[in-house]
Structure formats: structure tokens, C-alpha cells
Symmetry: C2
Subunit: 338 residues, 2 copies
DNA sequence: CACTCTCCATCACGAACGCTTATGACCTAC
DNA sequence: GTAGGTCATAAGCGTTCGTGATGGAGAGTG
């Protein structure tokens, strides 16, 4: 199980071609063929079906292991390199689409910052391999529970903020009347000041309701179970995967929360605009109301009791340089939670 | 970062000797020297100080990574091998010293079972590498919270049981009067029936306090904070590491919970006997009262609100063979918790 | 059906690598 | 000072690894 062989195997499996993998890796097709043969001989089982080139069941299994192993290998390299090199002056921040919390924006240094939006599950890898100094990931969790991050990469997580969840609707949607606040503000402020000062861990109650018309008799929010049969935006890279909603609701994978329009991209504002245009519902953090999307209505999610939690990731034990400063500003308490 | 080089590096660091590592690995001392030199050249930094042979700070860091990487490499191998081979007939169970819960004992098949007690942090590795089919780990956690397992190995955890915690004392200890029940039963039953039928997740309330008189209120149990200055048994392989108690109490590492006698071993009954003999306090699951150690008194822990949680580990997605049967008997609910 | 194109497997060869033996430099013990 | 231990270095040599060339197997085309 030489990592070299694993690397070529992963390439071959991904490209479904020995020749293409050879081109990508700078090898000869012959070498790639020998690599795969060596790996299959080492493990004593076929890994790839030829013609067409596709992984066997065992090969599929190996792909999962190999991805994790190679990532951790790179992460170890990066960690050691970071250990020796002097701390960088610049700060690169990898953020999931909905994770760029106002609290973080307020704590960023004035210069030398690069922000990169990535799909949610690529952020830990970016932090681990050193492609980014810090990462911001978000997700659904019970109040004050840590996020269940995939343990593909060794990173340390610190809580940043928790806030309520809302469902984005077009203004003419039948359920829009349950919104507690008015439509989105006209000014498209980049950093909404609401909840920017809320301490992490505090469950942001849906306070400061604008008008009291919807408070008592009509439901103050939506129940996710009532939206199982609705049409949702399928935005695996920008919002929450629909399977996540199904898991939260307890539905089996593939049942309920049907997809309407599918959005392949990582822009949270685009996603909100699509919801506002009636192409499907979207579950968003409450601060999405500050995105300034005209025509969007946000209805708080009343049940199940979930929060949108944001966590800050860094590699290794303690960050250094500007990353350390940012961590210090965001998290005065070092070991948060259990 | 060839795993071969990592393996030799780990051996050299552990044995603090190039020559000894060469003997252990079946290499020449020269080869080991070249391995280390190659690794240092690859990473561009010294890893070992010579004379005496000791890791540099960067080398210490690499050791952590290397241990995890090599373990995962072995785990991947074992998983693939398991994937191809027919399911085994026998069942090997690796259990932490306090994790062999009566519920599990009751569910074991009649024949073909091997139980192996290991230190707590070696159990996941044993399961991942295939040295054991299933693992049982225990730990302190908030009620219904999953254990925080070190992610050194890719394993799947399922809850088995939760029960209260007790502090083991000798009968003549000043705090022994706070015990709720009498001393250990005379009969040394192998499988205590108490709490064997208690459902998982039920917090064992400290009920039926014995007598009053010590302080203002007749405390029905002990508060961990009152025992910070007591002398504790230091049994890193059998009980809970003292650092774990310090972390629970919020004390900095190394402060409080001083060690009295140190026990190097994995026998829970021995540990209880040491506590009964007055060599120090020990924090144990409530079912330890059934170990049948004469002279031992067990006082429930009233605060902080913690439970002794037991989880079952298995490698891969789904177990096969007798392991699958055991998992099925223990965990009717497949996906437990969040 | 022949032809061609592309794909992957196999063979042979040169270069590079990896391990061993042998030797040197250095330290500690007596 | 010598002996015994350590680790580093050099030379030798077998093995491995990658390349280039060749061959068989399908797929598409006329």
C-alpha cells in the first residue's frame, strides 16, 4: 500500500482511464498499468474492472480509505512544514457558503486577508493541507452541541456562533404570512449588525419581532415536518444537502424534501434569490435575512429545535501569526464545550 | 513520507536507538540510519537529536502524525482483507477494563468468543486493525452524549449503556458514611444483576441516602469538587486517567487529584481492591459494586452530572458474522443519537 | 469483414533506488 | 589508552521502477 500506488489508483478510478491518469500524473501509461497491477497483487484482489475502467466493490472501499489516507499524509506534511517555517503574514480563510458569520467579519484584520468560499465538506481538507490557515464551517446541530464534522482531516474546531434557522420563501408564498419580520431590508449591507454582538453559545431567540400581528394565534414559525412534501432547492454546495434535512427529520434517504431547481455553486446570495423567485424552499441561518435579497421572506423554524452553528477550524494544536490573533479575538475561552 | 521510513522512524524514536530499531525491524543499522536521513531530507528538517537519540520538537509532532497514519494504513488493509475474506466463525472482543457491561455479557454467543482486556485507548486501534472484531470502550460523558473518542482510528460507535458513577472508598473512610448501600455483597457474582436491566440513557439517581449528620444537609452523594485535594489511585490503564478527572473538574492538567498509589494493569477488580485497602480513591461505574470486593464502599457521585457510558465499536460500515449478531442484539436502534 | 483507432497488458532494458558490508568518527567506561 | 558502544558514510550489488516498444482486445467505420 505504497501511497504512490494509492495516488495513481485514485487518479485512475477518478478518470476511469489508465491513459488519462498517466497524462495527469506525468507517467507513462505502462507505469500506471504496473502500479495498478502491483496494488492489486499487494492486496490480493482485483480493484478495477477494465473496459470499462470502473472500481470493483473492494475498489470502491479502497477509494474511501485512500482519499482519507492521502489527505492525512498531505496534512502531516503541511503541519510539519508549518512547524518549521516562520509564521505567515497573510491570512487565508476557507469558508463554507453560509459560514461567513458577521462576528468573524468584524474580527478580521484590515489587510492581508484572503477569503475563499468552498463547499462545506472541502473546508476541513483545505485547512488540514495548509491551503487555508483557518476554516469556517457551519451546520445544523442541537443547541450547544458541536458539529459532527467528517473526520477525514485532523483539525481543531472552536465554536463561533449559534443562531436560529429560517426558511426562505417568496413573498407570495402561502406560508409567507408566518414570517415574524418584514421582507429583507432594502439596503444590501454586507455585514448585518444584527446578532454580531451575540455571544457564542447563546441561543438566539427570535426576539425583537417587528409587528405583533403574527405572534399569538398564527404559528410564530414553521415546523419542518410540515414541509416534507414541499419542493426544495437542491444546492449541495451552497445550502444544506437535502439528505441532511431528511436526516434531521428522520426520513430515510431519498424520501421527502423533493428537489425542485438544482443550484450548483457556492453563492449564498444566489441561493436566496432563487428561493425568493419561487424556485424552491431553502433552509438558511437567520442572518440570511441580511443578505439584502429583494422579495425574500424568512420564516423562523420552530421545530425541531435546531440551531445554525458556525465553527472555526484550524490545523494543529495552536495557530500562529494572524490566525492566532483572529482565534484569540473570536474565542476568549480556549477549550469550548466538551 | 514513505510509510516504510515512517515505520523505522517510529521505532527509532520509541527505542531511542538506531541499532535497537534495526534489530527490531530486521534491518541493518546502516539501513536505519539511511532511512532516518532520507526522512529528514524529505521533510527538510532534523527529526532526531543524536547522542542521546531523542526527537526534536518537529520530530515529536511527526510521531503523532506517524502513529495515526500507520494505524490507518493498517486499518485500511484490514478492512480490505475483511471485505474479501468470508466472515469469521469466532468473535474476538476487545474491552476496556470497565467496559465489559453486563448487557454485553448477556448477549454474547455461547461459544467461540474471545475477550481481551486492553487499555482504553488501545481498543479502537485493535478494532480498526482487525485484531478484534468488536470493541467496548467506556468513558465519562454528559447524559446521552456520545463519547469523545480519539479519532486515531476509523471505527463506528454505538451506545450500549449508561449508568451512574461512584467513588470507591475503604469502609473506614470518613466519607464512607455517605454511601447509599452497604458494602459489597459477600457473594462474588460474576455478572451482577443490578442495573443489568436498567435501560440505556437512564440517569441513575442517587436515591435512598443512608444516614445524616456530617454537615448541614445529609448529602446523598459526593461532589467531585470536594475531592480535588484527596489522594487518588493513579491507574491510567484500568480506571480513568487522573487528567480526565482534572478535565472534568476544570482544573489545569497536573493540578489537583494527586496520585497516591500507581497501578499499572488493566484489572478492574484489583483496582477496586486497592481502593478498599485505602491506597486512594477511585472513580468507577456504579456496577463496580457488583465486583464483590470485600471492604469496599461505593458512594455515588452527585455532581457534576456525569454518567459512565459504554459504547460498542466495530470497523467498517456494518459488521458481519457473529459480530453482526451481537450488534443486533445490543442495539435494536441502528443510528443512535445524532 | 477489413481497417483503424483507442485502450490496456506485457516485455525488455537502462537508471535509480535500497539494502548490505565495511569502515570511520565519536563518546563513555574503566 | 584501550575497549565497547554508538551513529555516519562509502562502496558494492541486487532489485525495483520507469520508459519505450510491442501485442491483443473492443468499438466504430466504410
Amino acid at each position: 500500500m505504497d501511497p504512490h500506488l494509492l495516488r495513481t489508483y485514485v487518479s485512475v478510478a477518478r478518470l476511469a482511464s489508465f491513459s488519462a491518469a498517466a497524462r495527469e500524473l506525468g507517467y507513462t501509461q505502462s507505469a500506471v498499468s504496473q502500479h495498478v497491477a502491483a496494488l492489486e497483487a499487494d492486496l490480493g484482489m482485483p480493484l478495477l474492472g477494465r473496459r470499462p475502467v470502473a472500481p470493483t466493490p473492494a475498489g470502491e472501499r479502497l477509494l474511501e480509505h485512500a482519499a482519507s489516507l492521502l489527505l492525512r499524509l498531505d496534512a502531516a506534511r503541511a503541519d510539519l512544514a508549518r512547524f518549521a517555517a516562520p509564521p505567515r503574514e497573510t491570512l487565508t480563510l476557507a469558508a463554507a457558503p453560509l459560514a461567513l458569520h458577521p462576528r468573524v467579519l468584524a474580527a478580521l484584520p484590515a489587510t492581508g486577508v484572503t477569503v475563499r468560499t468552498l463547499p462545506r465538506d472541502e473546508v476541513p481538507a483545505a485547512v488540514a493541507t495548509g491551503a487555508a490557515d483557518l476554516g469556517l464551517v457551519d451546520g445544523l446541530a442541537a443547541p450547544s452541541d458541536p458539529l459532527r464534522l467528517p473526520d477525514v482531516a485532523p483539525v481543531t474546531a472552536r465554536p463561533v456562533a449559534e443562531e436560529g434557522l429560517v426558511v426562505a420563501l417568496p413573498a407570495n408564498h402561502p406560508l409567507a404570512s408566518r414570517a415574524t419580520s418584514a421582507t429583507a431590508p432594502a439596503t444590501s449591507a454586507t455585514a448585518p449588525a444584527t446578532s454580531a454582538t451575540a455571544p457564542a453559545g447563546a441561543t438566539t431567540a427570535p426576539a425583537t419581532s417587528a409587528d405583533a400581528g403574527t405572534l399569538t394565534a398564527p404559528a410564530p414559525g414553521l415546523v419542518l415536518a410540515d414541509l416534507v412534501d414541499a419542493r426544495w432547492l437542491d444546492a449541495p454546495d451552497a445550502g444544506f444537502p437535502l439528505d441532511r434535512l431528511r436526516a434531521v427529520h428522520g426520513a430515510p434517504a431519498g424520501r421527502g424534501f423533493r428537489a425542485a431547481l438544482r443550484y450548483e455553486g457556492t453563492d449564498a446570495r444566489t441561493l436566496t434569490a432563487l428561493a425568493a423567485a419561487g424556485h424552491g424552499l431553502a433552509l438558511l441561518p437567520a442572518s440570511a435575512a441580511g443578505l439584502g435579497v429583494p422579495g425574500a421572506v424568512f420564516v423562523p423554524l420552530a421545530a425541531p429545535r435546531l440551531v445554525h452553528r458556525t465553527e472555526l477550524l484550524h490545523a494543529g494544536r495552536e495557530p500562529a501569526g494572524p490566525a492566532a490573533e483572529l482565534v484569540r479575538r473570536l474565542g476568549p475561552r480556549t477549550a469550548a464545550g466538551r
